[in-house]
Amino acid sequence: MPHISVRDLTVAYDGHAILSDVTMDIPDRQITAIVGPSGCGKTTFLRCMNRLIDMTDGARVRGEVLIDGANILAPDADVISLRKKMGLLSQKPQPLPMSIYDNVAYGPRLHGTRNKRQLDAIVERYLKLSSLWGEVRERLHAPAARLSVGQQQRLCLARGLAVEPEVLLCDEPCASLDPTSAQHIEKRFVELKQDYTIVLVTHILRQARRLADYIVFFYMGELVEHGPAEQLLNDPRDERTKAYLSGTIS
């Protein structure tokens, strides 16, 4: 059974449809890239996965997102444990106003880890996993805001992983990064897909080509086509997908 499956998902802001009737399954332990032109509903789709859509004024959501069979959009769904399951990496890194150490320890502390030695181990482990440890081990208690943007994004990755999610939701995570930092992050993704299901929103088609195992193409709020990367990139069925891949629409 697929881990995440979406059934007839429709989102409207003040009566204006952003996503309509999206139905698909997201494959486990692969990188699923969601591509499409700006304003096609990619980010809204991602925000439904961890219910951050709740924070948007005037958003109405219908349909179902089933994770392990349970509908997370149900009013009585446990949003806290849902969000623990779904890590988020946002477009612009958002380090919390605290030290590097406290940023990584933030999630584990929220979910009940208090033991200092345990926290130390968690911080070291996830900073290593996001390949930031070498650069910050000497200044773990310095403000996170002093890191470079590329380092901040890796810190945010470490922080997200420290919560021990099962899925990583990434919203154009390289958009504000320099090429080297972007490469760093991409490399991590390839390693991480062994253990995590990664949903990557991107408007860079080349990034999707490099990383994705599975591609979903949205256009004007509609799910146009989805399938294994190989097939969708080389043999798209829909005219709009063809136009997007050839660069006619972007």
């Binding site: 951050l52 924070m55 958002q94 380090p95 106003p97 929220l110 996170a144 805001a145």
Partner: protein
Amino acid sequence: MKWRLLEEKVFRALMILCLGAVIAGLALIVAVITAKGARSLSWEMLTQVPKGGYYLGKSGGILNAIVGSLALAFGATALACVFAFPVCLYLQRDYAGRSRLASFVRTSLDLLWGVPSIVYGAFGFTVLLYMGMRASLLGGIIALALVELPIMARAMEEAVRMVPQALKEASYAMGGTHWETMRKVVLRQALPGILTAILLAFGRGIGDAASVLFTAGYTDNLPRSLLDPVASLPLAVFFQLGTPFPEVQSRAHACAFILLVIVLVVSVLSRLLGSRVSKYSLR
């Protein structure tokens, strides 16, 4: 092209002019107070309470008013914080947000801001009478807290609202509740602004005469308990300026000078504190 450059210069000059007017105003106040009050300012004045005939020009000091004002202003600021803080958090979009209740509360605070402080004094006095109490430190603190509350709550709300939504969402995305996010993330980020709000309210509170006139009373003694009446610096200025004796009037100016220094010291201290705590804030 020439016109645009001229425009640029004219508006730059206007800004400098306005800035100059503000600075000149402050400088003038300080100069007048110092010139008129300097000769009365003495160690004795800071360390003694008024002795018999003080208001006729005999010896003594205004320690009673200094201690009273500090007790009133710190007490009222602390009390106002207790209420302003939850109110400002509740007005955020994460809680009441754009609901009718929130906009009602905002409008009410703006109205309360405009209420003259003598009205709070009269209100406080009525409440005191009703409760069978006399003018006291406690009564003064409550009336002054009412004066400070709208200023503090609105300024705090402004500071907290400046925290980017994306930053809060980062915490929510890790499974933080509203309260955890407010306490651990929003507060830290908004702390410098919150301190400014508290300082603003403190400055307003310590300089307010009308609200404490009926509620705190006036006395030559130091307060021993919350139920004793207390003196305050603004009223000390008021009473002494009202006498016909030049020495006593000069002491009024010295009192005003002391009041300014207290506000300055508290302001500098809170700035220092602010820069310490904002070490981790994002800019």
